[in-house]
């Protein structure tokens, strides 16, 4: 990819399209029936998780299985301080708490590479759930918590806001020299360090930024769940899904993970409601087939078709 | 013994070899000379089954091998010492060498062959328990060569063995190669050390941009003005 393409004329068209999509999204609750907003909420939630995941893991190649941790921290923040403080502050605190935790985790795990990092972060999800359980059982004596309830529209706009912020951040990082540096870490970390990249700092910061968005999303979503306990809040499922969605969508482009998240969320929704008894079978089969026949994810397929199309066009003229 | 006829090899859509033909007889050293990126490694990989030619054929001991997988070709008695060493990083030096004798035919004799390889490279014996990953560049090169010899090949194809070796070891390596020929093993050698290579080789081919442009007795080629300019820097 050439750095200059982003400012070319062609990309202007893209910007306009993106703008239109967001304007449309902004008005959804006004014209769509109740459930569309509800479904959009969960789509947005997965999109945020996936895009934040890709922001760090996609480029650096460090596969983080920690989304559930940061999402869960947000959820807990919301459960504990929700209703006591204004909601925007609650969301901010959810994000910040995740951000700080991610800084700590990032600093601790610098030496881990490859699969060790992945499994470590996964262990973290379980550690959080079990230690919180122990803590609540033996120290605070809490048994689960109720969360303040919010209207769909409020939740929807909060998520949309987080999403816009996230996209902007991801875009700015990608465009800046840090985007290139993150990529170089993914390819050859040692060489990156010897080329002047402050590898540690960059990794930890990006990890924390991505955690911020997951935490904020968690804080918002908690209000839709109404009741939580440690195992509900720290569910490893929310670590796996972003990975699956990102790979399914294709990670080469920013919109790959978005498409992946949208399609898989919708597919899942469709299956658990229409084919409840066969949901896993069908979902699993589609996943396997997609991996087999879409080597570069959906985006890869789209690009291939596009290339073929434009080749043909060239051939014709 | 080895006959390559008219092969074309591609990387995706890019053609790297164009109608290459060559021949190697029993117990001779044949050198392959060419600039960077000429396609030498590609040619070796095609011969040893790591790549498939799009057209043309490769025959080894009167058997067509261009469709075979690399492991099957090894069984037939060809050994390929790859460029860039390709060691089993987390296995010890000794285990790496033993892997060279993996084919059923030679596995039984691995101990005696191992002793011989240790004689050739005493330093490997001293380092036999060390993980290949932690060896210095040159030591790794020695393991790679030693391992290639472990399979008791009839034909040994070697990709840039002297790269990264200290001058003393380079001399050593060339005499090892000559020693192999004297034992009746045919050698197909790619080397950047063109002068020394052509001195020990019987015949040589010159590869340019994926095509064979010159071939002949190596002593004669040494005198060619073209070679002297392009490859000897004279």
């Amino acid at each position: 990819m050439d750095i200059t393409t982003l400012t070319s004329k062609k990309s202007l068209v893209w910007w306009v399209i993106i703008l239109i999509i967001f304007i449309l999204l902004a008005f959804v609750p006004l014209y769509a029936p109740g459930y569309a907003a509800i479904l959009l909420i969960s789509i947005l939630m997965y999109v945020i998780l996936t895009v934040s995941w890709v922001m760090f893991s996609g480029s650096t190649g460090y596969m983080s299985l920690a989304p559930a941790v940061f999402f869960g921290v947000g959820i807990y923040a919301s459960a504990i301080i929700g209703g006591k403080l204004p909601f925007p502050i609650v969301v901010g605190i959810g994000g910040l708490a995740s951000f700080c935790l991610a800084l700590l985790v990032g600093a601790l795990t610098l030496r881990l590479r490859g699969i060790y990092f992945a499994i470590f972060t996964f262990g973290l999800v379980m550690l959080m759930a079990h230690s919180l359980l122990f803590w609540e059982l033996h120290v605070t004596g809490t048994r689960g918590r109720f969360v303040i309830v919010m209207g769909y529209n409020t939740i929807y706009y909060y998520l949309l806001g987080i999403f816009v912020l996230l996209l902007l951040t991801a875009y700015l990082i990608n465009r800046s020299r840090f985007g290139l540096a993150l990529q170089s870490i993914g390819q050859e970390e040692d060489a990156a360090a010897h080329t002047g990249v402050n590898v540690t700092m960059l990794k930890v910061t990006t990890f924390a930024i991505s955690a911020f968005f997951m935490g904020a999303a968690g804080a918002v979503m908690a209000t839709k769940w109404t009741y939580i306990d440690p195992f509900i809040a720290f569910n490893p499922f929310y670590s796996f899904m972003p990975v699956v969605m990102a790979i399914f969508g294709g990670m080469g482009q920013l919109f790959g993970p978005i498409i992946g998240a949208v399609i898989l969320t919708y597919l899942e929704e469709f299956l658990i409601t229409k084919f409840a008894e066969l949901y896993m079978l069908i979902f699993g089969t589609i996943l396997v087939i997609a991996i087999l026949y879409l080597p570069d994810g959906l985006v890869g397929l789209i690009q291939k078709m596009w290339n073929r199309y434009s080749e043909r066009k060239h051939a014709d003229t | 013994m080895l006959e390559v006829s008219n092969i074309d090899t591609f990387y995706g859509k890019i053609q790297a070899l164009w109608g290459v033909s060559l021949k190697i007889d029993e117990a001779e050293i044949v050198a392959l000379v060419g600039a960077n990126g000429a396609g030498k490694t590609t040619l070796l990989n095609t011969i040893s089954g790591l790549l498939r030619p799009a057209s043309g054929s490769v025959e080894f001991l009167d058997k067509r091998i261009d469709g075979l997988k690399s492991h099957a070709i090894v069984e037939l008695g060809m050994s390929h010492i790859p460029e860039g060493r390709g060691l089993f990083a987390d296995m010890s030096v000794r285990e790496n060498l033993e892997m060279g004798a993996y084919t059923k035919r030679v596995w039984k004799h691995k101990q005696e062959i191992l002793d011989k390889v240790y004689q050739l490279f005493p330093i490997l014996k001293a380092r036999q328990g060390q993980l290949a990953r932690t060896l210095s560049g040159g030591e790794q090169q020695m393991v790679a060569i030693g391992r290639g010899l472990m399979s008791r090949p009839r034909l040994c194809i070697i990709d840039e063995p002297s790269s990264g070796l200290a001058p003393l070891m380079v001399d050593e390596m060339f005499s090892i190669i000559q020693g192999l020929r004297d034992q009746g093993i045919a050698i197909f050698l790619i080397e950047q050390n063109v002068q020394q290579t052509l001195e020990i080789a019987d015949r040589a081919y010159v590869l340019e941009n994926g095509r064979v442009t010159l071939e002949g007795e190596s002593k004669k080629l040494l005198e060619e003005e073209l070679i002297r300019k392009a490859y000897l820097g004279l």
């Binding site: 699969i115 060790y116 033996h138 | 089954g49 089993f88």
Partner: protein, 289 residues
């Protein structure tokens, strides 16, 4: 009765044996075939349900079932690799890409296998009681079924380790783990070896499942729990190190047992704490290089 230290340690070994067996299988699949098989636990579940079914319906001794489960699971694993993972391997540009894709594919497999199992056996809990009596070991009592489990786990894992360390094929497998391309140049038939490894991994899982079913209730959704343990043990022991997985399994078992004795509420916490602390101290696992 005084609960002695020995008592706790042996209890830990009993648990650790199973953990080790589960982990060895995964270690093989990941260490060699580079498939971080998220559906490992589903193979355990198949082994467990196979054993349960044959015992409940036909009355076949679970220990005999082990011998029958092995080959069946081997074939399943072997052909899964021959078909699914092999074509993934062929279409992946790099090892990293293959790792990501194969993990995802195994995630899909998990869904498929589990759904089929639920349709076949239902989602409710199954259990039976076999060799459930106490055996006196140096003054401490242990359930016979768990001793048998330990014995089998140790024998199976050891046999497997010896196979890998000392046979030609075993060495070929290890070489393939590190550099498949070069292993091919040495005469190793890569596709065959990878499929074998995947098959062996499935066998280990199946056997572990069979043994587990003798001691614990089973459900068709139990797989994930064991997959997680297996992954932890494999990483704890050092990737691709069979001995490491073995040690890791026992370590986890023993520490778990000690903690359970002191404060059962922290049993699971301790697993993850050990894991995380150890990984931070030695980022490549106990026997990682």
């Amino acid at each position: 009765m005084i609960v002695t230290f020995l008592d706790i340690v042996i209890a830990g070994l009993l648990m650790g044996g199973i953990y080790a067996l589960i982990a060895v299988g995964l270690s093989l699949q990941y260490g060699v075939a580079r498939v971080l098989n998220i559906s490992h636990g589903e193979f355990i579940m198949i082994g467990a349900f196979g054993t349960w079914m044959l015992y409940k319906m036909v009355g076949i001794n679970p220990l005999i079932t082990l011998a029958m489960c092995g080959p069946v699971l081997f074939l399943i694993g072997f052909f899964l690799h021959k078909t699914l993972f092999r074509s993934l391997l062929a279409s992946s540009a790099s090892a990293d890409i293959f790792e990501a894709k194969s993990m995802l594919a195994s995630f899909g497999l998990l869904f498929i296998i589990q759904n089929i199992a639920i349709l076949t056996w239902g989602a409710d809990i199954k259990s039976y009681s076999y060799l459930n009596y106490g055996v006196n070991l140096g003054g401490a009592l242990f359930a016979a079924n768990r001793l048998v489990t330990l014995l089998f786990a140790v024998v199976i894992s050891t046999a497997f380790y010896l196979f890998l360390a000392f046979t030609r094929l075993g060495k070929g497998i290890r070489a393939a783990a590190q550099d498949p391309r070069t292993a091919g140049l040495m005469g190793v038939n890569i596709n065959q070896v990878l499929a074998l490894c995947f098959g062996f991994g499935a066998v280990m899982a199946g056997l572990a499942g069979g043994l587990l079913s003798m001691c614990y209730p089973i459900t068709t959704t139990m797989g994930m729990e064991y997959t997680i343990i297996a992954i932890i043990v494999v990483v704890l022991g050092g990737l691709g190190s069979i001995v490491g997985s073995f040690i890791g399994g026992f370590l986890l078992g023993i520490i778990g047992s000690i903690v359970t004795y002191i404060e059962p509420g922290l049993a699971m916490v301790s697993y993850y704490v050990i894991f995380i602390v150890l990984l931070l101290a030695k980022p490549t696992g106990i026997l990682g290089k």
